[in-house]
Amino acid sequence: MSADTVHTIIDDLGALLLFAMILIVAAAQIYRAIYAVAAQSLLIAIAGGVLATATGNVDLWVIAGITLAIKAIVLPWVLHWVVRRMNVRREVEPVIPIAATLALAVAIVVMSFQLSASLGPVRQAITGNALPVGIALTLTGVLVMATRKTALTQMVGLFASENGIFFTAMAVTQGMPLIIEIGVILDVILAALVMTIMVLRVRSTVDADIADLDRLRG
């Protein structure tokens, strides 16, 4: 593949990633948000495959494989299982209207592209538009976490945010060192595990949803 083709593919994948992010922000039902974040992880695995082919970096294949297995299949499945297991009656519960969140998300995307347009030489070190897309995904993920009350939606926001980091990390010329990426993914799995246990524990010990826990202030 020529460098231009790789750029084009990465940019296209970046556009799809942003689209999936918009779906997460707009999702009024928790299931849709989970599917969208799974789709995002799938896109990132594809991006990993493309970059692996283009650069001949075998590590990227491993990372793409792990991303596919863990972030596109296992974690969404776990979230799905928790939703069923807890018999979630409450959906997304936005703190501010979804339309307002969407407007903020658009502002974040524009700002990210503005920001990285101001960076001249470094852009050579990162393929295509992966940097602005990564920044936009990370910030929008935080936005989702900040504006949703239910535990599972906050976790979806977290995974989306981490997807943004992975996308940028893959597109850095040499790719991140494999051992570091594996460590990071391990942390993500552990964090997800602990969060899931907490969600279940809150339900079983105090018979409440995380969203109801709001006594600590001041």
Partner: protein
Amino acid sequence: MIVAETLLWVLPLVPAVTALLMLTTRDRRILSAIDVGGSAVLLALTLVLAREVATGGPRALGILRVDDLGLVFLLLLVVLTLAVSIYTVGWLKQALAVGNMKSELVRSYFALVHVFVATMVVTILADNLGVLWIAMEGTTITSAVLIGYHGHRHGLEAAWKYIIVTTIGISFGLFGTVLIYAAAAATGLHGGAGALSWSAIMKIAPRLDPGIVRIGFIFVMVGYGTKAGLAPMHLWLPDAHSQAPTPVSALLSGVLIKCALLGIIRFQTIAAAACGPAFPAGVLLVFGLISVVVATPFILVQHDLKRLLGYSSVEHVGIVALGLGFGGRIGTYGALLHAVNHGITKALMFFAAGKAIARYGTRDMRVIRGLLGVAPIGGTLLMIGALSLAGVPPFSIFVSELMVLRAGIGQGHWVAIAIFLAMAVIIFAGLLRHAGSMAFGEPTAAATREPESWSPLLGMMLLAGIMILLGLTIPATLDGLLQRATEIAR
């Protein structure tokens, strides 16, 4: 000499092995013995390592590296870990007696504390910035479980808030790390994991692209700043530090937020070399000032004793950031010393507060009265800890605050100095009022008058001794260590 290099890898293994040993028994006495023993071994080995580094300079083996800067934080960690272990002996007995801790959960509690300590050791020794991040997220995961350990509604709420806010915060840190890595990769730094090594990046730091380093540093500052409890990312801190079991509170406030500060210092040195010292210093000043200002009103109106200590941590982390921001030899030295002094004092305060809360059965400072009457030694320790926190001479925090102040005046940051001084005075008055009303007066009827148990007192006296010593004089060996660390950090 190969001793130091081997020790680098042995140190994180000590708490890990201690944790594994915990799983072999259920007896509370044996568990406490392993706890204290493991912490003592960790302290002893760290002292050996410190001597090696003092004579032979920084050492590295693979992804781990120790220099004088890391040693300052490592020493703080191991001293506090030992104090926490000693304190825990009596604390646990009491917690089991009142049903605050279930006996079947004791050994996993001990094991988790040591895994938590192991992750903190790795954050301090990590040379590879990726490993630093992984270990930092590891501290979040282990300590989140510990914060919710009592299983109360409030504890679980605090634990959830903690894990969500700090995980998202720290992912900013990862993004910043990726950006710095991209900048390093653009200069042609090769060698796989080596391209993320702090010492390797420092060698080429002046050639990094300033634009991307600037953005990277801001991401890192938000990320590790969240873990450090800098405002406005501090929202989780008063909850987590107040709801955790007391020994864990001491570790969180005393050491963990300092580990995050060490991460910030590492990136600050890279950013200072790449885009001039003014930029990272400015960012640190802003976050430091916001923290000091935001913490003040909450300290004044607080009724919950442990929350008060949490907000006070926000203030003191802010002061450390101010010291780093003022910079120069005095500012950086003062900031490092302040990190140590605050760690020791805050752990002491959490210990004393934990005992007072157990005695009165409440954390409401309006109910805690006449502590000196029912617990003369514990009450005295609480009082001198509060005096030190407030910045009263001759205690240690006064010394380091003065240094930070002097650095600010030397650099002519008059606005920052004015704000800092105003807040310090207000907090001084607030803390003394709180402490005075708890220590003096007629004891409440609800307070138990049982004698004070020895192990918590021993743990507290160890810390109080260090606190008083550092207020009167800084021993030559520590001074030398701080001087060399200052050279690395500034």
